[in-house]
Amino acid sequence: MVFGTLGLMVFLITLCLSGTILLERFLKTWRHETIQGFTATLPSTSDPQEQFLQQMEFMKFLKKIPGVLHIEIITREKRTSIFDQWTYSTSKPPSSQAIEATFCNRVKISFSQIFSTLETNFPTIHLEVGRKSKETFLKIAQAAQFSIMILAGLIGIAAIFTIAFTTHAGLIIHDQVIEILRLIGAEDRFIAKQFQRYALNLAVKGGLLGCSLSALLYFLLLSTFDFSLLSLSSRTFPYVEIWGIIAFSPILVAIIIMISTRITVMLSLSQET
């Protein structure tokens, strides 16, 4: 019973920590893109040549802005592949042209000044510091990340209470054994060690169960969904981190359990003497 509960807790903590890592990875990418650059959207025209000339002129203008690192025309394919497939219907691809400008991190950029210059020279242009869709995602993801971290903390606290309760019940059940041990000279730490050994046994079994469930779920997710979209620009899917979490969570839970068992036993025994 306790072993199953611990297994479930390890599984949930693994999920929470993996979720946090994934979100952190995405947030980093999104923050990077929203903070360091802006996206200009040029209205579409009926004449492709005119549109091309408009683009070239705009890009020439952008290159003159101090601190600009990179200017990229966001092709329809890329736009669709990154975010717009979530916000637009793929059957109706956007007709406007987007150009993304990235700035050097070390240069202090006044986007309002740049925007006012650009708007003066290109009155029909639409400018965004990052994409609105990204900003929305960013906020949602941050909130989700925060909630997940709180949830992981709550699961940890629940694990501590479960163990404290189980240990307390164990102390009551083994009251006579403890009394005998004390009569023959057992120190409290020796008694605590016996409970810790039992708790470690449960933690190892629970940890293995939780680990197996997490690994199974991870494999299922990887084989079912295409995560290449989530890797965004140059960042890769955090395989190492997630496997690390799956391996690390049981150890973390075992440490928490060992410490809470010891504290519970030592406190209870000190109150009895």
Partner: protein, 233 residues
């Protein structure tokens, strides 16, 4: 001679009940063997419990091995109990451990290694006549075997003082006599023994000084081996 156990005007009572002990004073010399007798409820077990610091609330002064038990800290109580052997009438063996593990336990508590404590416990079991019962669970042992296992456990640490609370209570006459032979052998080895009993035949057959408890008072009936004194500390 320096005393191993010394009571000075010790009184004990349970809550609002009558006094179990009233201004009791006596001292026992090292290496002696005393019976502790008295009617049921006279306070034999309570007196033993006072010696192994089973009570916190009492009046007077109890000194064992020269230490005043009142000022002994909780952590020190465990180490103190490792120096004394306690034998209970109802054995108090740990039922989930084998006989060997039960007997090896005091050495494990002292911090000895598993192999060393097992080896010593096996030797002790052979000496005490329990060879071949190493892996037996306590529930499968007879009363006499259990009592010997408890004795083996209590002397594993080579205690200076052995407290036995009605150790023959669950034994037939033959096993009780065997137990007394064993106690006398341990006593000859230098262990001070206080044995609570109401078996008059045993006290006659194996004569030793008797501490008699009645109505909260004690009287010591010396014998030829007595080195104890009463009310003169």
């Amino acid at each position: 001679m320096h005393s191993i156990v010394q009571f000075e005007r010790v009184s004990l009572k349970y809550d609002q009940g009558p006094s179990v002990l009233e201004d009791v004073s006596f001292k026992l010399s090292p290496g002696t063997f005393h019976y502790l007798t008295g009617a049921s409820g006279a306070g034999k077990s309570s007196l033993l419990k006072l010696i192994y610091k089973g009570f916190k609330e009492y009046r007077g002064t109890i000194q064992v091995f020269g230490n005043d038990l009142r000022y002994m800290k909780n952590q020190a109580v465990s180490l103190y109990r490792q120096k004394i052997g306690i034998i209970f009438q109802d054995f108090l063996l740990l039922e989930h451990l084998t006989t060997l593990d039960n007997i090896a336990l005091p050495l494990r508590l002292r911090g000895d290694g598993w192999l060393h404590s097992q080896k010593k416990a096996r030797q002790m079991m052979e000496w005490i006549g329990l060879g071949g019962f190493e892996e037996a669970m306590p529930s499968t042992l007879s009363g006499g075997q259990k009592q010997r296992a408890v004795i083996a456990r209590s002397v594993m640490n080579k205690p200076k003082l052995l407290l036995a609370d009605e150790p023959t209570g669950n034994l037939d006459d033959e096993n009780a006599a065997k137990l007394l032979y064993l106690f006398e052998e341990l006593n000859r080895g230098g262990i001070t023994i206080i044995m609570a009993t109401h078996n008059k035949d045993l006290t006659t057959e194996f004569p030793h000084p008797i501490i008699r408890l009645a109505e909260g008072q004690i009287s010591i009936h010396p014998s030829f081996r007595c080195e104890s004194s009463v009310n003169n500390v």
